[in-house]
Symmetry: C2
């Protein structure tokens, strides 16, 4: 008889029941032909004795194997490995460790050079520059979680647990209508609101619906890197237009419109990403008029509407759009925290309906529990109170960071103090390069990050965007300290 006793091993610590452990091992033996076709298997009583397990375990195992088709029972003859079972063709494994790795795909697929690596694992010792994120320590996670739990415990919650609308939760859509009409001067109804997983999903959906191969999208000659990549993934053609101190130059967009059919213009009107400039009133109106005249879409990504230190927020283009040209995108990622994947796409009903259908394919639907939580968080005024609280703190951080950047580097950096947002558009003196600064900074445990993403058009402007909002006062001093050491080293090179 085949030496089951030495071939089979049970792990009694394992969650898996004994009969399944046994079945899976016998399957392995059949698959690799250790148990060859037509082999007769021992009776259940015999095998139970040999393996020192209860007979029921063997019976259950054989039943399972029969059901799965790995063995067959021939009346009055016994149980056999079938003759017709095809042998599984496996690659030769050099050692058993390879078994668990599965490195290479056994098929071809489309690799897209646009898809770039995301930043690697972080090291606790290092300080990492970012392009303007909130400070997680100020996030009211506990308050939000309390609301989440209260909502989850409600009896009426059952109806929200199954498959729901691809537009997002009704209550949150209604709350957002009120909130956006009040704070952004929009004139929308619920039919204009799709709840997304943050701004990126809004850009993705818009991009899929607006752009096909060779379609033209206009962006600033510096532009938000993720938006650029999303448009390139669609194989659309990006036309870059000058951005000056009043934002994107709409006269240049007009010139383009006269030459070619433009599908869309992507703008970050409130604080242009990455340069932080605000689009002037005159250009806003010009852009809206161009969109109407030439029938293109304006994707208005209003990623940091809430943060203004010197003035009230300026109303978005969407508040002046009466012709259905604007697709307005926002989220709570900057004002609360990126972990809460709640955003919105606002557009004409016609476009929104199509976006909602597409969204069904992407991830079926949102998270109704989290959406209800944020409906409560916004409606109760907690969101506004949170924004007021952090805005004061971020303003102090901006002032400190800009003062140090101005006073401690003897003209190495040039910048304008940003009127809002969470980042400073910082120019390095053209005697130096960010490549060198990045390299040297690492010796002082400062990671500059991918500075090249701020210059996709290869303008050589020597700027990067430095976020200040996520660091407290001590950390700002520490950051400046490491940067000073870096610059001092470079000057001595």
């Amino acid at each position: 008889m085949f030496p089951f006793k030495t071939s089979i091993q049970f792990d009694r610590q394992c969650n898996q029941s004994l009969y399944l452990q046994l079945a899976n091992q016998i399957i392995q033996l059949i698959k690799n032909q250790t148990l060859a076709p037509n082999t007769k298997l021992p009776g259940s009583r015999t095998l139970a004795e040999e393996l020192n397990v209860h007979r029921k375990t063997i019976v259950a195992c054989y039943e399972e194997l029969l059901l799965q088709g790995w063995i067959e029972s021939i009346p009055k003859k016994g149980t056999f490995v079938p003759s017709s079972l095809p042998v599984l063709q496996q690659q030769k494994l050099s050692n058993s460790a390879t078994d668990g790795l599965r490195e290479r795909a056994g098929f071809s697929f489309y690799k897209n050079s646009v898809l770039s690596e995301k930043p690697a694992k972080k090291d606790d010792d290092f300080m990492y520059l970012n392009d303007g994120t909130s400070d997680g320590r100020l996030t009211p996670t506990d308050e939000i979680a309390r609301t989440y739990r209260r909502i989850s415990a409600k009896k009426m919650i059952t109806k929200h647990l199954s498959y729901g609308s691809t537009y997002g939760n009704e209550t949150l859509r209604e709350v957002l209508v009120d909130y956006l009409n009040t704070t952004r001067g929009l004139h929308i109804t619920k039919d204009n609101v799709l709840i997304t997983r943050g701004s990126q999903m809004g850009i993705w959906l818009s991009s899929q619906l607006l752009l096909q191969e060779e379609d033209i999208i206009v962006v600033g000659n510096t532009n938000y890197d993720s938006a650029d990549s999303t448009f390139l993934y669609q194989k659309s053609r990006i036309e870059r237009v000058l951005v000056d101190e009043d934002g994107i130059v709409t006269d240049d967009i007009e010139k383009l419109c006269k030459l070619k059919q433009i599908k869309a213009v992507y703008v970050t009107t409130h604080h242009h990403h990455p340069t932080t400039v605000t689009l002037s009133a005159k250009r806003r109106i010009h852009l809206l008029n161009l969109a109407k005249q030439y029938n293109f879409a304006i994707i208005e990504d209003d990623y940091d509407y809430d943060f203004n230190y010197n003035h009230a927020p300026i109303l978005p283009l969407a508040s002046h759009d009466l012709n259905g040209n604007v697709i307005y995108i926002g989220s709570v990622c900057k004002s609360v925290a990126p972990v809460y994947r709640i955003g919105y796409l606002i557009a004409s009903r016609e476009f929104l309906d199509e976006a909602a259908k597409l969204r069904g394919f992407v991830d079926r639907q949102g998270d109704a529990l989290l959406e209800l939580t944020f409906a409560d968080f916004i409606k109760s005024g907690d969101l506004d109170r949170h924004i007021r609280k952090v805005m004061k703190i971020y303003k102090q951080r901006r002032d400190l960071f800009c003062a140090l950047l101005k006073n401690e580097f003897d003209g190495v950096f040039q910048f304008e103090i940003p009127k809002g947002g969470m980042a400073v558009w910082t120019k390095l003196n053209s005697n130096y390069s960010w490549a060198t600064v990045s390299e040297v900074a690492r010796t002082y445990k400062l990671e500059i990050g991918d500075w090249q993403r701020y210059d996709n058009a290869n303008l050589g402007h020597n700027h990067i965007r430095i976020g200040f909002a996520s660091y407290n006062e001590d950390e700002i001093y520490e950051l400046i300290h490491r940067l000073k050491q870096t610059i001092a080293d470079i000057k001595n090179l």
Copy 2:
């Protein structure tokens, strides 16, 4: 002087401060040229008196308008509407209500006929058939929310609040490695795991990476409707292969492979969707061998692995795949509830890395708080306990539903009792049509739903899939009662 007093209205209940309300109304007046270019605005003192507000309000408003560029200040002359401000071209509005609706897009975009409407709003009086969803009343929402809150309150949580890995949370990936290796017989490491928002995102990502125009994907001649649509959205070509009582006929796939280059095969091995049959062991091995030989991908959607009433679950293809051919997709949507958007895509590292990059474009990242919550829920054994609990209940419901469907309709329906899952593949006697049943059922407040989606290949099989798991005993009786009334009516037609 322009009649500001009668043109401007303040809403003192509104959250918006008075100066901004004023500014926005003046912007409207300038935009529609009620205040024409070169108009001189009254001094702040005069206007404050006329509007009966504090002078500071007017000063703040004018500062805001200056900043936004809507007015200009000429020294010693006063404040003016600029001459150069372009006029916003608006469509004629028939009445003010239209203002808030924005029906039509002012640009063209790609409508795709594949994108179909999702089911409309539900009516509380109605019973709705589904194709096999869990019962939300059995979902441990409160326990999960308690864990969510505990995790959110932890001090270490800060590092999870910002932008994170597009692969998903590390801890959940590690927990899933253990869980899937133990319960599904996989041999994976963390590098093979991408956390998704449920199975649909796994299908979407795979589809984007595998299929371009005219690429061939093979599916069953009946197949899960959403998968079909996702592949069609990619403009790929769907080849349909017979499904019999042993699952998809792999011999027919082999014939196809000899004729054409196949990119992928989509299978629901455990319980084929919609017919509920299990793919036999022989065909499993055959399919794996074909994939290796012809270098195609197998998308294995294991949507209901956990639910088996007569036998232990059968290990997925992915557990036998040593050549990197299988993309294994699953989620907690069936075993817990669809509202928890946690799923996984398991594949060779090479494919997974590309999927993770693409995922960054789709929605940037998952919800780390929810992912940590489910890491805890799975690791603690709570998930398994929950599955054991509901499985007993669903088995009773299956037995009751099948007994009634057999005994109460005098041969109108034909079906096999499903060995697992949450639905019965139900054939209507060919003397009747689901179109008629659907129509008549509505008079008894029973909504059959889109029965045509079960026959995308127009086979005329007259089957639909009826979920039983979401109804309790009383509801099953009520459902059968309404269906009996419907059938009685039809027999009397």
